[in-house]
């Protein structure tokens, strides 16, 4: 007779040997670094061109993201429609995204179409024209989208908490108002394009099923451009945190939930505490079984979900707690978050919970290393953060060995309620 009360034996995930499949490195003729990973079972690839063209480089608000967006909206030989058609005809996806330091063009497609698609990317990054008409449409539609987003308490909360932590002048804290969109000009965008794309700093990541001559193909398309590896050093920005710590904002009189954000500044990935805090964060609010979820969702039912995380910034960052909770229980939710901080500061995480978190994290990494795009995602993170391959193995080691005492010390250092900005937007 099967005894269902006894769990089947398991191999502890901490006993798994995790390997990060290496990627190939080479440089194009112009010195642009390329990281390539030929892997996977499907005939697909993903190419990412990472430009140092994020909003940290802009002189005028929102120019970086407008430039990035409009890369797909017309060159001297192709209209926006023709560019889109050039990708979509082959079932390819060309997305772009603008972050703080970097701005990315991402192309994914069936491998068989690689040759047809790269020249279009080349055209976008060398010959975009930024017409008045395209900019006018962009401005109008961006303002409309912004007006809808501003009705959402979670959107408003996300902007404000960053502004408190970093200051509104900092690239991580700045946010866009309708008048900033109005102020955009094609002249400002062209200047930005010229400096940060046409003559900008670029790193290329490519993964998936790749042709043998990938180096030659990339060189033909991008090796002759005036982009390079050693341009545009990162501007140094200092944070200007707000004086006041606690905020209650009314955004919608009919609101039935509060968007709650608690945050404190935190050092970047190169800081020795970083990997250890990733483990502490998991215990605190980083997975479904976390302290915050168990208490505030699973025990009290105040929210559909509550999470804590370290923001993914290159220079410095913030530790954030984020949730949407019932209007009547928003204040109680904040109190419970602080209670959980206190518990982590005062009590040791017991061995059972710690083993669970170790196994969970290792299992997640193992699952995450599945597939070429995910692998490259790991590499990209390491490279853009200026870390080495050891970072991966050191994090795994940290997960396997960190002690409950260390976690408590870190909680005492970083989880002091008085260090946190506190915001509820209803």
């Amino acid at each position: 007779m099967l005894n269902r009360t006894i769990a089947p034996p398991i191999k502890d995930a901490v006993d798994f040997d995790l390997q990060l499949k290496p990627c190939t490195y080479f440089e194009l003729d112009n010195g642009v670094p390329v990281y390539a990973l030929d892997a996977g079972t499907q005939e697909v690839f993903q190419l990412e061109l990472v430009f140092y063209a994020g909003n940290a480089f802009e002189q005028q608000k929102t120019v970086a993201s407008a430039t990035n967006f409009l890369l797909k909206n017309g060159t001297s030989t192709k209209t926006a429609f023709e560019i889109n058609e050039a990708f979509e005809y082959y079932g390819a996806y060309c997305n772009r995204a603008c972050y703080n330091e970097t701005a990315v063009i991402n192309l994914s497609s069936l491998s068989k179409h690689l040759d047809q698609l790269l020249p279009v990317i080349k055209e976008m990054i060398t010959d975009s024209i930024f017409s008045e008409e395209e900019l006018a449409t962009y401005k109008q539609n961006s303002k409309q989208r912004l007006s809808v987003n501003l009705k959402k308490s979670e959107f408003v909360a996300g902007r404000l908490i960053d502004a408190y932590v970093y200051g509104e002048q900092h690239p991580y804290g700045v946010y866009t108002n309708p008048e900033d969109i109005d102020a955009l000009t094609t002249a400002a965008i062209k200047t930005f394009f010229n400096e940060y794309y046409l003559n900008g700093k670029c790193i290329i990541f490519i993964s998936g099923k790749l042709p043998d001559q990938i180096q030659t193909i990339l060189n033909i398309n991008f090796g002759g451009l005036s982009i390079g590896a050693n341009k545009n050093p990162l501007p140094v920005s200092t944070i200007q945190p707000a004086e006041q710590k606690k905020y209650r904002i009314s955004n919608d009189v009919d609101g039935v939930q509060g968007a709650i954000r608690l945050a404190r500044e935190f050092p970047n990935r190169r800081h020795p505490d970083f990997m250890k805090v990733m483990v502490l964060n998991t215990v605190f609010g980083g997975y479904f079984g976390s302290r915050l979820m168990s208490n505030i969702r699973e025990d009290k039912g105040y929210t559909y979900g509550i999470h804590s995380y370290i923001q993914n910034h290159l220079q410095q960052t913030a530790w954030m707690i984020s949730t949407e909770a019932g209007k009547d229980v928003s204040e109680a939710t904040v109190e419970e978050v602080y209670k959980e901080m206190k518990i982590l500061q005062e009590e040791l995480v017991d061995e059972e919970e710690l083993l669970l978190v170790r196994n969970y994290l290792i299992g997640t990494i193992l699952g995450d290393l599945d597939g070429p795009f995910q692998l490259m995602g790991r590499w990209k993170n390491i490279i853009l953060n200026g870390l080495s391959e050891n970072y991966f193995y050191d994090s795994v080691q940290t997960i396997k060995t960190i002690s409950a005492e260390e976690l408590r010390e870190l909680a005492k250092k970083y989880l002091n309620p008085e260090d946190f900005y506190e915001l509820i937007v209803i």
Binding site: R4, A7, K11, A13, V44, F81, Y89, G367, D370
Partner: protein
């Protein structure tokens, strides 16, 4: 080509195995043939509430998540109008843990009042977060009620109203489990670094002893053919006017489903699609416009939605949209457009199949539709669609009498 093997246990549980030796992981996917469409109209939101309760502990195992996490696993679940799907991914060496957990909660649940009370609150917060505390959050509740008079697609998965969830009793929930959570109403898919023999042995060991229960016979009221256009109007505290339109299309297993799917791609797939180009870029009447369909098992809806540029009159925006729909019905599409949407479909399928979890869920979904091998046949069904099919179906779908329109006005 996705390989799999299929067998059925004596208690009626269908099991499919997909081996993939390139990954260290395994996925265990349990799909139950129950969705919001199977609910009592006065007790909606049950299938989804129930999904939450499935994590509240089973007869022999007090908590579900922890033993899985200890084994290095992750899990989640989702409910749609048609089905409820539970999946976990874990290192293949620990796969038995997933069998143990999933079989125990198919055997019998053990949650109490506390768990029900909490999850009722959690689901109410989920309801508020997604459908109340958001501009335009009530659109699909209204649109479903407009487009469906009879079929239980009239309500959303989350439920018709908060009170249905607030009033759920332990008895209701238990009855729901008895009725739907039986081996013959489930499909088990195991994928990853495992063998068929290993899965056979584990399935017999853990799922084999579960009593068969009764097979649920679905007998839903079918939606009568719509005979006249329907419209509704909303005024709400939103910044922009918006236009929503829906048309009845075909069941998932109908051959015409593929035609309807390609029609949505032609109209609304990406920035080179017809509606975006004509209405956002050229005429500048909408700031965004989308066309998609619900992918439902029973006859679903094809939808177009867009926000109007400030200052544009609703009737002008609607007329311009209707012009585009008229154009496809009159002129049809070019071979190049057809080629494009077929290429897109091929590429989309390749990307979806990259993830082991997706492959497992797709196999289960196709099995539920009646034939798991559809997973390998659908691309050919798409490729067989002709330009003539597109024009023919466009005329049927976009018939004025098949139209449901929701005018959403800013206060």
């Amino acid at each position: 080509m996705i390989q799999f093997e299929r067998f059925v246990l004596a208690n009626g549980l269908t099991v499919l195995v997909h081996e993939d030796k390139s990954t260290p992981m395994a996925v265990v996917n349990v799909l139950y043939d129950v969705g919001a469409r199977d609910e009592d109209p006065n007790k909606t939101g049950f299938a989804h509430l129930f999904e939450h309760l499935m994590f509240g502990g089973s007869i022999n195992i007090p908590v579900y998540d922890e033993p899985l996490q200890v084994a290095g696993g992750e899990n989640n679940a989702y409910t749609t109008n048609d089905l409820t799907n539970y999946y976990c991914q874990l290192p293949a060496e620990n796969i038995e843990t997933a069998f143990w957990l999933e079989s125990d909660r198919m055997l019998s649940l053990a949650f109490g009042k506390k768990s029900l009370d909490t999850q009722r609150k959690v689901v109410c917060e989920e309801f508020k977060e997604h459908y109340i505390n958001k501009p335009y959050g009530d659109v699909w509740k209204r649109m479903r009620e407009l487009a469906y008079t009879t079929h239980p697609y009239r309500w959303m998965t989350i439920g018709k109203e908060l009170s249905h969830i607030e009033n759920a009793t332990l008895e209701d929930v238990k009855a729901f489990f008895q009725k739907h959570y039986t081996p013959s109403n489930a499909v088990l898919v195991v994928a990853g670094n495992i063998t068929v023999n290993q899965v056979k042995e584990l399935a017999e060991k853990w799922f084999g002893p579960i009593p068969a229960g009764n097979k649920y016979e679905r007998n839903l009221p079918q939606e009568p053919k719509q005979m006249a256009p329907r419209t509704a109007e909303v005024k709400a505290n939103v910044p922009l006017d918006a236009l929503y339109k829906c048309w009845h299309i075909y069941a998932r297993t109908d051959k015409r489903y593929y035609i309807a799917d390609l029609v949505t791609e032609i109209l609304g797939g990406g920035a080179s699609s017809r509606l975006y180009q004509a209405l956002v870029k050229e005429k500048k009447l909408f700031s965004n416009i989308e066309c998609y369909h619900f992918g439902s098992t029973d006859a679903g809806l094809l939808a177009i939605e867009g926000k109007l540029v400030k200052g544009v009159a609703m009737k002008d925006a609607e007329a311009a949209l209707n012009d585009e729909l008229f154009k496809i019905q009159q002129e049809g599409i070019t071979e190049k457009e057809l080629e494009k949407v077929k290429n897109k479909t091929e590429s989309m399928m390749a990307f979806e199949d990259m993830s082991l979890m997706n492959r497992a869920a797709s196999i289960a979904m196709y099995e539920l539709l009646g034939d798991a091998s559809l997973i390998n046949k659908e691309l050919d069904l798409y490729k067989a669609v002709t330009a003539k099919d597109i024009i023919g179906e466009s005329r049927i779908i976009f018939d004025i009498n098949n139209t449901n329109t929701l005018y959403y006005f800013a206060n």
